[in-house]
Structures are given as structure tokens and as C-alpha cells.
């Protein structure tokens, strides 16, 4: 831990020396690929440019969800003159060398909405804890199902994505604690066609045997919400993830109990703020109160607010309050500026 902090401080210092305090900040927000989850990143980057008086804050995304494409894009952005990065890493390990390379050019890099594995040169990771969020979501589901012997199914994303494993573990942990049986995990369905086919087939054959559904990836949440609406009897309880309109509407209409949010807008906005600070003389505090995370020891939990029918319509307020709280916390506790 100490070694890492030293390294990090060194990198940050280098940055300052190399570029001087006058450098105009050009932040690039780079997601792993095109995905509706990042819809709020673009307005967030525009707002950040205004609010923090940045030289540029642009949302740039790889044309496909492919690690190599993201790496190519990041390298190209350096060539284009960007000097600060807020990145959703395509892979927690595979992205590290490229991110280190970016740091090597003097640019601060913040992992946003997903973390990279230690050791790495990124300043810190700003995200919701995927495992914890899945755990809490499952808790909410268990609560909604009420007492008795209960069985649930878990629909999740690509197995090759490491967060998937964290989520599977999180769900399993919550279920084990409450004595709930997970009868089926269906994975590799974070694309509309396979999700539709497999979720449909599963509910058709085994729908009567389960009491609850937890989804921990965007597309399965959307497809399963539609399926719940279609079944219509609201017997099976479901907790979703993220803020797709379909999911929100299903919550409003009572087909879905609630959803675990990740506040992508706030994450991107705050990351731009921190990156600018880091480029212009600030460092990550030596005694920053990082929380623990399976991947990294420099993790800032952006929270995983839970929405249900009661607060679904005021979701924007929830997000805004959280963003403000987060920015205050980052500035006060995690950055030290001279």
C-alpha cells in the first residue's frame, strides 16, 4: 500500500513538473464501448467543461466493445493532445499496460464505473462496487419476496467480463445468508437477441418454479422487465440493475420491485473534476480514506442508490444529491492540493 502510494505520488509530481500548472486540461471520457449505460457521460462531460473551466472535455467511445479498439483509441487520443482521462476500462487487467502508458505521458487517469486490478498507475477508481451492489440488490429482492422457502434465478452478463463473477458471488452471498436457493444462473446474455431467447425459454419452462429474479446486467434487466410485464401477474418479484427507461417504467407500474443504480453521470462529472485537479498541482492524499474493493485498494465508492416505486420519479434528484456529496468528499478527503 505504501509503495503504491509513493509511486502514485511520484507519478503525480512528475506530471506537475512536466506540464506546469498552466497546462490547459483536455479531458477524454472513454467508455469500454458503445452502451446505453454511458448515455449520461456526454452531458456530464459538457457540464464539466463549463463548470470547471476545462480546455476540453469530450466523450469518445470505441466503435465496438473490444479491448483492442479501446486501447487503440486511447493511444490515438494521446496523439490528439488529450492530457487527462476518465476511463471505463475494457478489462481490469488487460487495460493496465495501456493506462500506465497514458500515465507515462503525464496524463492523470481515473478508472470510472469499473476498476482496474492493482498494481497500476491510475490515480484511483471511482465506481459502484459491483459485488456489493449485487448483494444489496439481492437483499432487497429477498425482502420483497417475503418469508418462506424461496427460489430465485439470476440473469447476468458476459462471463468473460470480470465484474460478472463479482456479481455472481455477491448474489450468491446474499442468497446463502437468507437461505434462498439460486436455481439457475444464466450468463452471456448482455445482447438483446440471446437475452430474449434464453430468458423467454427459461421463464416458459421454469417460471412456475421460481419466486424471484435478480438481474445484474443492462440488457438482461431490460428484457426481463419486459418479460415480467408480459407475464403480468406480479407473482415473481424482480430486482433489476441500472436505469434503462424500460426498467424504470416497469418499476412505476409495479412489475419490477426496484433497481440498483450506478449514477454514471455523477461518476463522469466528478472524474473530470478530479482529473483536472490532478493535472494542475493536486495529488491523491497520502491518507485518503479509500474503501476496500476486490480489485483495488484505491477505490472510491460512488454509491449504489436503490430505486423503487417510491422514488423512481425523483431519481434525478437522488443522482444530483449524490453527485454533490461525492464531489465534496473527493475534494476534501482524497485530494491534497498545494
Amino acid at each position: 500500500m505504501k509503495r503504491i502510494t509513493t509511486l502514485l505520488t511520484g507519478a503525480a509530481t512528475l506530471t506537475v513538473v512536466a506540464l506546469g500548472a498552466q497546462a490547459e486540461t483536455k479531458v477524454a471520457h472513454v467508455p469500454g464501448g458503445p452502451h446505453p449505460f454511458f448515455a449520461d457521460w456526454e452531458p456530464a462531460s459538457i457540464a464539466a467543461k463549463e463548470d470547471f473551466n476545462l480546455g476540453a472535455a469530450d466523450y469518445k467511445f470505441p466503435q465496438k466493445w473490444e479491448l483492442n479498439l479501446q486501447n487503440d483509441l486511447l493511444e490515438s487520443l494521446v496523439t490528439q493532445g488529450y492530457n487527462a482521462f476518465a476511463i471505463h476500462p475494457g478489462d481490469p487487467v488487460g487495460s493496465v499496460p495501456t493506462l500506465n502508458e497514458l500515465v507515462g505521458t503525464g496524463a492523470p487517469v481515473i478508472a470510472v464505473s469499473a476498476c482496474v486490478n492493482d498494481p497500476s498507475d491510475v490515480s484511483f477508481c471511482l465506481a459502484s462496487d459491483a459485488g456489493a451492489s449485487a448483494y444489496t440488490g439481492t437483499k432487497h429482492l429477498i425482502e420483497a419476496m417475503g418469508p418462506g422457502t424461496r427460489k430465485i434465478a439470476h440473469f447476468t452478463g458476459w462471463l468473460v467480463e470480470p465484474n460478472t463473477q463479482l456479481r455472481i458471488d455477491g448474489v450468491a452471498k446474499a442468497a446463502a445468508e437468507a437461505g434462498v436457493e439460486i436455481v439457475q444462473v444464466i450468463a452471456d446474455i448482455d445482447a438483446p437477441e440471446p437475452a430474449e431467447e434464453k430468458i423467454g425459454a427459461y421463464l416458459a419452462a421454469h417460471g412456475s418454479e421460481i419466486d424471484g429474479v435478480i438481474t445484474t446486467a443492462w440488457v438482461p434487466a431490460v428484457v426481463a422487465s419486459n418479460a415480467m410485464r408480459r407475464i403480468g401477474d406480479k407473482r415473481i418479484k424482480m430486482v433489476a440493475i441500472d436505469h434503462d427507461e424500460v426498467v424504470m417504467n416497469a418499476i412505476r407500474d409495479g412489475f419490477v420491485v426496484g433497481s440498483m443504480l450506478q449514477n454514471p453521470y455523477g461518476q463522469a462529472y466528478v472524474a473530470a473534476f478530479a482529473a483536472d485537479k490532478l493535472l494542475n498541482g493536486c495529488e491523491v492524499s497520502a491518507d485518503a480514506p479509500f474503501t476496500s474493493h476486490p480489485l483495488t485498494e484505491r477505490f472510491i465508492d460512488s454509491g449504489a442508490p436503490y430505486v423503487d416505486a417510491s422514488n423512481v420519479d425523483t431519481r434525478a434528484d437522488v443522482d444530483r444529491a449524490m453527485t454533490e456529496e461525492l464531489i465534496r468528499k473527493v475534494e476534501a478527503d482524497f485530494l491534497s492540493c498545494n
Binding site: 446505453p36 448515455a39 445482447a191 438483446p192 437477441e193 430474449e196 425459454a201 434503462d244 424500460v246
Partner: protein, 319 residues
């Protein structure tokens, strides 16, 4: 009758598909539940269009890599026109199908006029179509799908028959007629079987190629539009995963990649085989980490049975 079955090119895929169904339902009677059949038919309805869209191109001995990109483009155009311009579904749908037709037409024109391999051309247009999709959607789904369209994509006609089964079945019937009865359909097979002699008989290869690609584009667009109705949203990722599926079903159905021989009915059974395998994996609680392995083995098994029978028939024919 027995002779008819044993000699027609769709017999083996049919036998495989039916026995697979029987096998699955023996182990899990829920497979034959109304709801499950409905889900199966929904999956088949759309996948059939994807597979046929590729099959039309296989018929002329080419490949169309842009099937998914074009279908996806049509899908988001359909959804986008309804959400952004508030067009009625019929108009939006017609325009989306028109885009598919035009995109396919463009493919065909480029291939027919330049003589560059279809593989290269459709690879390039794949990028163009997908790029247009991203440019239109900015990677965000369109959500405002009218209820009528949602209903169309999710309701059943009677029993387990979903409404979207109707257009799929209609297209299958049309294609069967097209390839077996219409001169223009025979052009495709003639060009695929022996382009030189087709040309000598006065069939224009370039024209045939354009027609085939236009049809392919149209079918891909149909699949895209139906998928929007079924998913109830215009996902920009629609079509990304179609390619492999689009080839697998026609080939399981016995289509020859070199061209000149395709069977619409066999392709339908090919789709059914793949859909049943996918369903079985879910039904039997296969460990998610093991799903891929089983899928690979089952595809191999399904085609091996087909191959084995074909070889036997060949041998029998020789004696």
C-alpha cells in the same frame, strides 16, 4: 411418401429437428408447454429471416457479411422514425424495409458492377451500415415504441402462435415459391450453379446478383423490424451477433457454400435445430460455464448426423 421423404433435401434436417424435440420433451415435459412453444416459435420466427437473408446470397455462391449491420440499421431506423418523427408504425416499417432493400441493392450494385468479391464489398458496407447505425442512435436505444408495435411483437394469434410467426411463415412460403417456381428465383440458382452457362443462356449475372442482394437486404430488414417489435425497443446492438447464426442454419440445412443449391425448408429446420439446442441448454440447468461446450458439441453432432446420412445415400446411389 417414404421415398419422397428420403430423397428430399430437407428430410435429414427435419428428422434431426424432430428427434431433438422428442428427446428434449422426454426429459423435460415443460418443453411442450404452450408458453414454451410460443417462445420457441418467436425465436424461430426472427432467426429464420436472418438465416434466409444469408441463404439467398449463398444461393448465388457468395457471402453477405453485412446482414447483421443492415438488419440493425433497419431496426433503429424503424424505431427512430416512430420516436423522433412520430411516424405511424406502418410508414416507419415500410421505410425501414425500404432502407434494407436499398442497402442490399447497393451491395449488389457494387459487386455486380465492379466484379470485386462479395466478401470484400460486404465487409466494407458492414462498417458503413453499422457506422450509420451508431451515427443515428449515438449508441442509445430508442424507447418510444408504440403499443401497437409492442403488441404485434409479443401477442399470440391463437394457441402458441405468436403474431410475428405470420410474416415469417409468409416469407418462407414466398421464398419456397420463389426458388422453386419463379424464373427469377431460378436465375439465382442457375448463376450459383454455373454462372457461365447461365450467362450464355441470356441470364444476366450482374442483374441476378443485384436482385439476390436486394432480397437479402430486405429480409435482414424484416428481421430487424420484427426484433424491434419483440424487444420493444430499438437497440443499436441489434444485428451484432447475427453473422454466425445466419450461416449456421442454412449450412446445417445442407446448403452448399459454393452456390447453386439451397433449400428454404431445410434452412427453417436448421434454425429450429439451433433454437432447440439453445433452449435445451436453459431447460436442463446447464452450468453457465459449460454452456458453450455443450453448444459446440451439439452443433457438431447435429451436422454429423446429417453428413453421415448424406454419405450413406451417396454410396447407396453409386451401387
Amino acid at each position: 411418401m417414404a421415398r419422397l421423404i428420403s430423397q428430399s433435401d430437407w428430410a435429414t434436417p427435419m428428422i434431426v429437428a424432430v428427434s431433438l424435440g422428442v428427446l428434449i420433451s422426454l426429459f423435460n415435459p415443460a418443453f411442450l408447454s404452450t408458453f414454451n412453444i410460443q417462445v420457441l416459435l418467436e425465436a424461430v420466427s426472427i432467426n429464420v429471416l436472418i438465416a434466409l437473408s444469408q441463404m439467398v446470397i449463398i444461393a448465388i455462391g457468395q457471402m453477405n457479411l453485412s446482414v447483421g449491420a443492415l438488419g440493425g440499421l433497419a431496426a433503429v431506423i424503424f424505431a427512430g422514425l416512430m420516436e423522433v418523427f412520430g411516424l405511424p408504425p406502418i410508414v416507419a416499417g415500410a421505410l425501414a424495409l425500404g432502407v434494407g432493400l436499398a442497402g442490399g441493392f447497393l451491395n449488389g450494385l457494387l459487386i455486380g458492377l465492379t466484379g470485386i468479391s462479395a466478401f470484400v464489398i460486404t465487409l466494407a458496407t458492414l462498417s458503413i451500415f453499422k457506422g450509420l447505425n451508431l451515427a443515428i442512435t449515438q449508441a442509445q436505444p430508442f424507447y418510444e415504441i408504440p403499443d401497437a408495435v409492442k403488441h404485434f411483437g409479443n401477442a399470440t394469434l391463437f394457441g402458441p402462435f405468436p403474431i410475428i410467426f405470420v410474416p415469417a411463415a409468409l416469407i418462407v412460403v414466398l421464398l419456397v415459391v420463389f426458388f422453386n417456381r419463379l424464373p427469377v428465383g431460378r436465375w439465382l440458382l442457375a448463376v450459383g450453379g454455373n454462372a457461365h452457362s447461365a450467362e450464355l443462356s441470356g441470364i444476366s449475372t450482374a442483374k441476378t446478383v443485384v436482385i439476390a442482394h436486394a432480397i437479402s437486404g430486405f429480409l435482414a430488414a424484416c428481421a430487424g423490424v420484427l426484433l424491434v417489435a419483440r424487444l420493444q425497443l430499438g437497440q443499436p446492438t441489434i444485428g451484432d451477433d447475427w453473422l454466425i447464426m445466419s450461416f449456421a442454419a442454412p449450412i446445417i440445412g445442407g446448403a452448399i457454400l459454393a452456390g447453386g443449391h439451397v433449400s428454404t425448408v431445410a434452412t427453417v429446420f436448421g434454425v429450429l435445430i439451433v433454437a432447440q439446442i439453445t433452449q435445451a441448454l436453459v431447460l436442463f440447468h446447464i452450468d453457465p460455464f459449460f454452456v458453450q461446450v455443450v453448444l459446440g458439441l451439439m452443433i457438431l453432432a447435429a451436422v454429423s448426423v446429417n453428413q453421415w446420412r448424406e454419405l450413406r445415400m451417396q454410396r447407396a446411389g453409386q451401387e
